[in-house]
Amino acid sequence: MDEKLSSAAVIKIDTAAAREAQYDLPQSYGKTESFLLPKDPNWMFLFWEIVNETFEQIKDKKGQNVFDNARMVIRVYDITDKDFDGTNANSYFDVPVVLDARSWYLQVPSGRTYICDIGAILPNGEFIILTRSNKTTVPTGQISNIIDEKWMMVEGEYEKILKMSGADMFGTGASERLQHIFAQRWKAFEIGRDSNPSSHISSWGSHTLHKPQTDEDIWLKAACEIIIYGQASKNADVYIKGEKIDLNEDGGFYFRFPLNAGQNVDMPIKAQHKTKEEKQRFITIRAKREEA
């Protein structure tokens, strides 16, 4: 890391800084595992690391070619109100996945408890588990229908309480204004500082945390994130929108970023041979968001 953070300081290389400069964050921790985090009532975030030994152990048991025609999936189990033993889920669904993505956002029905396996589906239908995550519960995002008889209110009166409590505003960015102010506030500190725009593609277009139009009693909000993932030959450099991106060891890449209101996304992806520059391959992804 550079030491520009303290723009006013004389750079002092101490032993800790020297030691820390030797390596960036660990790319891997050498252990097969996965973790599941709740994002909102309908989304969860799963990330994983699967080490080679895990594949090797399975190959030793099931044969060296076991993964050849296998499909990699995330198996999302609904285990609401269950003491999950691997077989008693209420239901499950599979999401095809590129293991090199190392993380994935999963869309699920709200108000349920989930656990995820990452594994391979063999041509004969057998499912081989590589790793199982922790479990997590996403909220309902709704006013409950369950009423405690000891704590009841006349229905018409309760509507008033709901309205006063701001029921029509929930989740519409109540503290959006605060966010904005904080952003502005910290911006004030940034003035006059060398600021290198981050070259990491996934930070293109910061999230606009915009409030839905609260026009009387109707409003709409919809958000979109675009995921681009792929792989290029090892002898190639890959550019997205002209910016060179870092590839995984096997040439894989994965990016996601939000599509903001009124935004057009025109995303040329170029692979260019490391030495023979004339050798190139192109793919362009286009998307558009309109509001009326």
């Binding site: 953070l5 300081a9 996601r256």
Partner: protein
């Protein structure tokens, strides 16, 4: 017979991330703390001092987060703050001369007088220990100080129970150290609640916490009184929900108070306006023009910065008084209406705000609060200020509701702290927590160098868990700094971890980290067992 129709609980959340860089003689981001001291924390104490001197009874609840308490009692930062304040006093004295017989004379005098008053409070009243000031009003029963997660760690995105428990336990211990008693309430960082958190609150004897409105409204069963009475979680901890109406009234983009043209303009700052040679000594040592916190212009209207008009403190005070009156009037109407629906108890309105928005961003917000306290005391009888604890003493029986996971961030859940811009951090944060638990179980009750290394691991872990870093990555400001801080603490943790498991602790390295990341001197890593 008490005449009030309902209660108002005012809650101010005071927090800054732990920013302290002894390795540099002058560090830009430390200004966040110094500015908040001069613009929010000392001015708030000044309000409490004034009210007390005038015999005005008041109630307010403030969270003073553990990192903030640690910074407020840190010798190095106190010394640097003294320098910061003394410099401003020096400049404000020169400014009295320079602005004599100009339209800026009033505002120059305002800064001069305020800075002197704040120094008087800081040095003579509190002897450099600002926490003593807050403690004084807590002991008088006017101020309820609550704690927060140890480093403002975002609990719903922590996986291991021990990690969540440690954020609560370390915070409670730190509160005892600074305030000499156990905390009765807590502000969960970002009001972020997840199932099961209340169990750890109960273990520390914490009686109440705060939530965004839908956290209670989406609870099961339906809360009878909406957000106008607390509910008990299944563990028996009271959850108070934020009132949206009073929040919007202050901060609404269209009609919020802080945008009044007679209020002070934030972006027109003397750091840019003064002659360079004259102002140079008051800038950072790199000599780059930045805000120095003295601003002479009013918002004026939607005009360019160079079109702004001079600021007149007395005009701005009048506006603050009328805004306070408007706020109080609306609360009276609100409580009156609520008491027509809720007939079996007096409704409670909980108004929650970031403390630093008063004074730092909305400069006159401090005066607004002082006027509000006075008006509520003198001018009406419909609403009464109350602390959550007093409310619970008055109404010990409350409905039991399982609250919904939620936060007060944009969209109401975890999006701000978990999105494509910052999701990479959790791989490291959760791994570090896992390793910390492993170390604590492998080396229980260690002393000597090993014990110190383990405690430092715990410090690095909680520091990387501060929700501030993920937040700053999302809003896109100070992104470089917040990314570096996250990486630094992960790296330091990882280096120590490898030394400990490899049985080759480098004591010099350990010492250096103890010197740099010195938060929580009394931390005990055994909390992770």
């Amino acid at each position: 017979m008490e005449q009030e129709k309902g209660y108002l609980s005012l809650v101010l959340h005071a927090h800054l991330p732990f920013i302290r860089h002894p390795e540099y003689p002058d560090f830009l981001e430390e200004d966040w703390f110094f500015e908040a001291m001069v613009e929010t924390y000392l001015p708030l104490l000044n309000v409490y001092e004034n009210l007390t001197a005038q015999g005005v009874d008041f109630r307010v609840t403030m969270s003073l987060t553990p990192p903030l308490c640690e910074m407020m009692s840190d010798e190095l930062l106190i010394q640097r703050f003294r320098h910061y304040l003394n410099q401003r006093i020096e400049l404000s004295e020169k400014e009295l001369e320079r602005t004599k017989n100009t339209e800026f004379a009033y505002v120059a005098k305002m800064y001069h007088d305020k800075f002197h008053r704040y120094r008087e409070l800081f040095e003579n009243y509190y002897h450099g220990r600002i926490l003593e000031g807050f403690k004084k009003f807590q002991n008088m029963g006017k101020l309820e100080i609550i704690t927060c997660c140890a480093t403002h760690g975002y609990l719903p995105l922590q996986v291991q129970d021990q990690s969540i428990k440690a954020q609560i336990k370390i915070a409670a211990n730190n509160y005892r150290k600074h305030f000499g008693r156990s905390p009765r309430g807590i502000w969960l960082a970002e009001c972020a609640y997840n199932y099961g958190v209340d169990k750890y609150l109960k273990e520390e004897g914490i009686r109440f916490f705060f939530m965004e409105s839908h956290g209670v409204m989406h609870g099961v069963p339906r809360p009878k009184y909406g957000i106008y009475a607390p509910v008990y979680t299944p563990q028996g901890v009271a959850a108070f929900a934020r009132d949206m109406e009073s929040a919007q009234q202050v901060w609404s983009a269209e009609s919020g108070y802080p945008g009044d043209p007679r209020y002070r303009e934030f972006y027109r700052d003397l750091g840019y306006d003064l002659d360079y040679d004259y102002v140079k000594n008051y800038l950072h040592s790199d000599g780059v023009r930045r805000n120095i916190g003295m601003k002479y212009y009013k918002i004026t209207g939607k005009v360019a910065l160079n079109q702004k008009q001079p600021y007149y403190p007395s005009d701005a005070l009048d506006v603050a008084a009328s805004h306070a009156g408007n706020f109080m009037f609306n609360r009276q109407k609100q409580v009156e209406y609520l008491s027509s629906i809720i007939t079996d108890r007096k409704p409670l309105v909980v108004s929650m705000y970031d403390a630093e928005l008063y004074g730092h961003w909305w400069y006159e917000g401090i005066d607004f609060l002082e006027f509000l306290f006075k008006k509520i005391y003198y001018d009406q009888k419909d609403i009464k200020l109350i602390t959550p604890f007093e409310y619970l003493e008055r109404y010990p029986v409350n409905q039991v509701v399982q609250p919904s996971p939620s936060s007060w961030g944009d969209k109401g859940y975890n999006d701000v702290w978990l999105n494509s811009g910052n999701d990479w951090i959790y791989r490291h944060l959760i791994k570090a927590a896992e390793r910390m638990i492993e170390l604590a179980n492998r080396f229980p009750n260690a002393g000597g160098v090993l014990g110190r290394a383990l405690n430092q691991c715990a410090r690095e872990l909680v520091l990387m868990q501060s929700s501030d870093w993920a937040f700053l990555m999302t809003v896109g400001t100070a992104k470089e700094y917040s990314t570096k801080r996250t990486k630094d603490h992960v790296k330091r943790f990882t280096a120590l971890y490898e030394m400990i498991v490899g049985n080759r602790i480098d004591e010099n390295y350990l010492k250096e980290l103890e010197w740099k990341d010195n938060i929580f001197q009394d931390i005990d890593y055994n909390v992770y067992r």
